[in-house]
């Protein structure tokens, strides 16, 4: 019992971390599972979301000073809420352009999509460096969401739970869109058999644009949510995209529940190994991946996909 109580904070930590990992992986999963494209620029879009949120929350926008003063007078809570909503919308056009570029790679070896998005990731990261510089930023969090509270004689960070809650909301939203709407049904059918879907008169090109925009906005949303926890820096994109793809491979390509459970599993492993060797905790997720994928070639819930060609 004693040891269990000692492990509790690490367990809770692991679950919240897992939800956040799953949130990062969500947009990546959509684009990979429904469009069969690896989007290595996912992390850069994630970073852009965080930077835009910073620009909205800490007013240093290129606006006239009196407008800026009025915006700065708005309580931080409202500014943060505005960032959560606006940052993904502002990042969406980047996704539109990227999808436009990727169109040329559809139907070719998926390697080209991977290379293309790697190049785009490099470009976006450099753009961020040029605009915001290499320094770190901290996204201010409204007082109601920051700080900590005491439970079971332990101090818990309040924002972690808010972030986990936002992650659950986003995941539920994506699940509802994919599983419970006509749009979701069409997209899934398109991934399964694009020829038949097109023969039925559905505009697959437009559908793909929407999926990509949705994935982009999810990346940006994850960036906003995670920025207060992880900080904002140019290479945060790469730090985020690696766990994202790892979770997808672990959970199985094209599986919503695979991504959710994969995220939780990774979070728990990192959290619990952090209890024993905090220095090495991030290594455990790679070892988990290698172990799982060695035993189950397609991950936990994966189906055969075009990527195995």
């Amino acid at each position: 019992m004693g040891t269990l109580l000692n492990l509790l904070p690490h367990l809770v930590n692991g679950i919240t971390l897992g939800l956040l990992f799953a949130l990062i992986a969500l947009g990546f999963m959509l684009i990979l599972g429904l469009m069969e494209q690896i989007n290595l620029a996912h992390g850069s879009l994630f970073a852009l979301g965080a930077y835009f949120a910073y620009a909205i929350c800490a007013p240093r926008l290129p606006l006239p000073p009196d407008v800026l003063g009025m915006w700065a007078a708005v309580p931080l809570g409202w500014r943060f809420a505005a960032a959560v909503v606006l940052a993904p919308i502002l990042v969406a056009p980047f996704g539109l352009v990227l999808e436009r570029l990727m169109r040329r790679t559809y139907g070719r070896d998926p390697l080209y999509g991977l290379l293309l998005t790697f190049g785009v990731a490099m470009v976006l990261e450099e753009l961020i460096r040029m605009v915001w510089g290499t320094r770190d930023y901290i996204l201010p969090v409204p007082r109601e969401m920051s700080g900590g509270f005491i439970m079971l004689d332990l101090i818990w960070s309040t924002y972690r739970f808010w972030a986990a809650a936002l992650a659950i909301v986003a995941m539920a939203g994506v699940w509802a869109i994919v599983e419970r709407t006509r749009f979701g049904a069409m997209v899934k059918a398109g991934a399964h058999d694009s020829e038949i879907v097109q023969a039925l008169g559905i505009d697959l090109t437009r559908l793909r644009v929407w999926v990509f925009v949705l994935g982009t906005m999810l990346a940006a949303f994850a960036g906003v949510v995670l920025a207060p926890l992880w900080g904002i820096r140019p290479h945060m994109g790469v730090d985020a995209v690696v766990p994202a793809f790892l979770i997808i491979v672990l959970g199985g390509v094209g599986s919503f529940w695979g991504a959710a459970i994969g995220g939780l599993l990774v979070g728990m492993v990192v959290g619990l190994s952090g209890a024993y060797a905090s220095e090495w905790s991030m290594l455990s997720m790679y070892l988990l991946l290698i172990a799982v994928v060695t035993l189950r070639a397609r991950g936990l819930f994966g189906k055969k996909s075009v990527l195995e060609v």
Binding site: G119, V123, V238, I290
Partner: protein, 337 residues
């Protein structure tokens, strides 16, 4: 190369480019560059040639090659500190250690191909990178492994000192010539032919009776070992070894070099790419701070419109008059769905 014809040990084009490289120290400073740049370019040319064995010749998209380069770099330094202060020992240990790392990775991923191969190599690359950062007592962590010496080349009776960048350049050039000869031979050997067959159609190669797994593993191990050699040379040139060469970024850079130069269609492509990469870094970097922005855009444009790279552009210009067939890049694999 038409089947049945004997492949020469080296081609006139190779000889010309070696000679061209040999003249570099004589004029590089006059065009406003510096000797060390030549060393860097040649080392990465070796690295990219070795990498292309996996990407271009075997069609296996490794995105974690930085790990092998980095292992070589650390191994060279550690051998010098703990084993013997000899250049040959250091380079041999670098090759062996990276080859060992490659063997470990190959054991886990040689049954895979395509995107899964890429994803698994990213995972392994991250593992090695992470260990390099965290194993502070061995690698020096993020501070790096410092004070690695440029050891003299001991050839029995004569010894050459490498502390001068020009001397180091010629030593690296000698290694480069050796590696390019070796790889040229390998690619055109029966082994190379089988690897090529696996690239074109793995299933068919298996049905013909080849042990595909063993060939794919061998390709990765050889490539890793030679990448380690480049890494060892690099730590000697830098007189230090840092974990950043093992990061996903650096693993991506070698992919960029190889592809930009035209590694998919040309043996020399990776060398062209390494030259282009470093010239872009220094020349665009002199004009603006964000050189990667422009190189990245160039890379994106190449992936979209000319995946055959710079070599492909030249080959296209040369063959346009004769035939309209350009070398196939994406080999159409049978769609098994």
């Amino acid at each position: 190369m038409a089947p049945g014809r004997l492949v020469p040990t080296f081609t006139p084009a190779m000889l010309v480019s070696w000679l061209l490289f040999a003249t570099v120290p004589m004029w590089i400073e006059r065009v406003g560059l510096y000797q060390y740049l030549g060393v860097e370019i040649l080392i990465f040319a070796i690295y990219a040639l070795a990498y292309n064995l996996v990407l271009g010749h075997a069609g296996l998209p490794s995105f974690g090659h930085g790990a092998f380069f980095g292992i070589g770099a650390y191994a060279f330094g550690l051998a010098q500190f703990n084993l013997a202060a000899s250049l040959w020992v250091g380079l041999a240990v670098a090759v062996l250690a990276a080859g060992l790392g490659g063997t470990l990775v190959a054991l886990f991923i040689s049954h895979r191909r395509g995107i899964y191969y890429a994803l698994m190599t990213i995972a392994f690359g991250q593992v090695f990178w992470f260990i390099a950062i965290k194993a502070h007592s061995i690698t020096g962590g993020e501070d790096g492994l410092l004070k690695i010496e440029r050891l003299p080349v001991a050839l029995g009776i004569v010894t050459f000192d490498l502390r001068d960048n020009t001397a180091l350049y010629y030593f690296v050039l000698a290694v480069f010539v050796g590696v390019s000869l070796l790889l040229w031979r390998l690619v055109h050997s029966p082994f190379g032919r089988i690897v090529k067959a696996i690239k074109q159609n793995e299933t068919r190669a298996r049905f013909v009776g080849y042990d595909v797994w063993r060939y794919k593993a061998a390709v990765l191990i050889i490539s890793a070992a030679l990448s380690g050699l480049a890494g060892g040379l690099f730590s000697m040139a830098q007189t230090s070894a840092f974990p950043d060469v093992m990061s996903l970024h650096y693993s991506g850079y070698v992919v960029m070099m190889t592809l930009v130069g035209g590694g998919l269609v040309s043996f020399w492509g990776p060398v062209v790419g390494a030259v282009a990469f470093f010239l872009a870094r220094d020349m665009i970097g002199a004009l603006t701070t964000g050189w990667m922005l422009w190189f990245g855009l160039f890379f994106v444009a190449l992936v979209l419109f000319k995946p055959e790279g710079i070599a492909g552009i030249f080959a296209g210009l040369a063959t346009r008059k004769h035939k309209t067939t350009s070398a196939p890049v994406s080999n159409p694999q049978p769609q098994e769905r």
